[in-house]
Symmetry: C2
Subunit: 497 residues, 2 copies
Amino acid sequence: MRRSKFNIQIIAKILGVLLIIEAAFMLTALPFSAYYGTNNIFEFKLFSSNNDFWPLVISSVIAAAIGAYLFFTARNASKVISKRDGYIIVSLVWVITSIVGALPFFLSGAIPNYSDAFFETISGFTTTGATILTDVEAMPKGLLFWRSTTHWIGGMGIIVLSLAILPFLGIGGMQLFIAEVPGPTPDKLHPRITQTAKRLWGIYVLLTAAETILLMFGGMNLFDGLCHAFGTMATGGFSTRNASIAAFSPYIQYIITLFMILAGTNFTLHYISLHGRIKDVWKNEEYRYYIYSIAVATILIASTLTLIHHGDIEKSFRDSIFTVVSIITTTGFITVDYLIWPNVLWFIIFLLMFVGGSAGSTGGGIKIVRQLLLFKNSLLELKRLMHPQAIIPVRMNNRPVSQDIIFNVLAFFLIYMIIFAIGTFVMSIIGLDFESAIGATAATLGNIGPGIGLVGPVGNYSEIPLFGKWFLSFLMLLGRLELFTVLILLSPAFWKR
Amino acid sequence: MRRSKFNIQIIAKILGVLLIIEAAFMLTALPFSAYYGTNNIFEFKLFSSNNDFWPLVISSVIAAAIGAYLFFTARNASKVISKRDGYIIVSLVWVITSIVGALPFFLSGAIPNYSDAFFETISGFTTTGATILTDVEAMPKGLLFWRSTTHWIGGMGIIVLSLAILPFLGIGGMQLFIAEVPGPTPDKLHPRITQTAKRLWGIYVLLTAAETILLMFGGMNLFDGLCHAFGTMATGGFSTRNASIAAFSPYIQYIITLFMILAGTNFTLHYISLHGRIKDVWKNEEYRYYIYSIAVATILIASTLTLIHHGDIEKSFRDSIFTVVSIITTTGFITVDYLIWPNVLWFIIFLLMFVGGSAGSTGGGIKIVRQLLLFKNSLLELKRLMHPQAIIPVRMNNRPVSQDIIFNVLAFFLIYMIIFAIGTFVMSIIGLDFESAIGATAATLGNIGPGIGLVGPVGNYSEIPLFGKWFLSFLMLLGRLELFTVLILLSPAFWKR
């Protein structure tokens, strides 16, 4: 590790570039604002909740101005980024883009409280999808488009983060998730971040476009199609309807289910299958268990629901697979209120909140590969007890996994659980009942969105007290950045020269 | 490991001896039966719930007969006990003594259903203290004495198990808990099991006697004094009163609090302090954190309760320390219904259910030393991220802890959590509501007794469906035997030659 100061120049430069990109994305909401808006767009208006055109423009200008200032004052920065700089950049990016990204909601007056606006925005960028809006359909369309765009940008960020940056930082066994993709070339995704990013983003854009088109075939207009494709591919969960995906046809529900499954898959596997090596995809253990988990949970729930729905197998299957996939991938779209299901069924859903998607996907949570490693290691411990002299390593994709990685994954799991306990505790202190407290904590830390209790599928986060909203925002950030990225900034040793 | 068959002879012999001991203990309840009984003890009666004299005699005879048969047919067994034999013996002992120990309850008709009687008995032997009795005071005194005696025997078993047998079997880092007691002599508790057992049992008997006397000073009669001392020292929790310890004076509540704290302490520390090395006790990290945890939780709860009780500081402090100590040591005595406390407070209590007492005490649960190791290891992971080349071991009592032990402890924790999740799931399936399901699972797996929901402090386990009672009995056994001892028997590799 370099013993110098932090490279504030390079930190400023990167933040500057990203703010300019954010400003550009804000402008993409303008056509929708102009088309659907009921106001004259040439009339300058702020804090008038049915006008979102000027708030978006002003916000974009502010973002661009700050970005440009940071970029130009730091344009001569050296290109060397240390690990420590990396941690700071990653955490700051999500916070600052959220602070600025909340401006359109706030300046339009559509979300009068800035805390609420920030909550909604960081929920977007972290692809959580937890909302404080009680009436989504009353929002101006430009703002709704920006809201879904935050998901999409966040998803892009996460793909690069989890497949290019975190492995370099050594977080939570992330180095494993790339190295262990089966195939002949060890560096098949090319180590350089920009190369990796371009290829994965290509896949991301391709899948988003494909989903949008398929949704439009099902009768959605371009606006709804794009918003929902953004929400799906980022495993976000913001919808444009109060009823979420229950507002749409079974065809659309199936399409979204399919694309949620794709979004929860390691993107390197998409890359591999696009290169014709589809067989290799199934060789990936995490992928297999991801599919098995979905299948088992779906069958369990669907068979019980069939009894309740008096034999309507199709609806039972659809409700079941949609909900299972939505929760396991941490998307959080809703077609049915699972809290009115029998206890056992929603308890399965609750457990799935701790599974999370695949590593290297846009999904959040603990993630399948970590669960798998921990489970294997626990079982092997019984073997180790019987053969105390033998060295019995955990194997993943037929290769032994180093003890360092297992330690890292175990620490990840424990810290996740400790934060979950602390989170539930804090939520109880500010007055939530037990179920809502664990629900809100699990759903934000896991970047899911809807939880159980007050914040269940038909509820939202509007009633959470102010402090709770900031706290849950922090949990979303923690979960999204794989805990360590943020926690390391809180450790005193990090700041020592 | 020996590649021979299991040594069935030695297994039978040890079980035989223990059944004879059980038979002898059953007879100790007879004086209380005779003294308090309303029936003529010379009149032979079974299945008459107000007569417990003959059921105790018959049960004792049955236990002795089976024991003698096993002992004499196997009396020429070789003295070699392999590890595998060890696992089988330990698990079988708890199951078989419970099967036989349930007879007095069943034969008297006081607990008409054998499943219930078994539940009550294994709850006793595992020092859980979960009860299916709705009216404890209606039970004949002889049976109540036997019920409390099962705690005391179970506690004796656990001390030997955790300080002499499990370290030899290498379970859950138990080898650590002995080796790491600070002091000049490395083998201060003498490695031979019988020696160790005698010394620790001496301390156990001494503390039980001391508590009984102090309780009798407070106005309890010999019967109540012994029963409650048994329940305390074993961290069991069966009381002779429906109101549990709320039926007694503040003085008695404080005495029981003190002895619960002692019972939840590593017994090697008692041995050390009895030898005048009291300073060395505080050098033990687990002990320090045990005391800190009690202090912090008590202060948190007491300060809030003081507000609720309008300034009754003494009662707030007493309710708070009693409940905290009762739960953290996994005793489960009750002086107050913590479920009517504000959410936050009973959530603290719920979290304490996962702490458990010290290793080498009679307490159950995950235990402080494991929590401490895991927590330290998680924090160090942040350091390891910053210095990936450095080897940074976890230290306990100023000595580095080997990776093997940490792995073992981590596996223990994970399996504990997996079983907790499965348990809650099973309890939901059989129809318990969410809170009761997690409450019953946490309280039985942790050998606590009262949980939350239906099985909270003023509830009991009588309403749990039959299958659920057997399942929870299994959880008590799993928790009591540190998971691995039982789980290893379920692994196919164990049974291969």
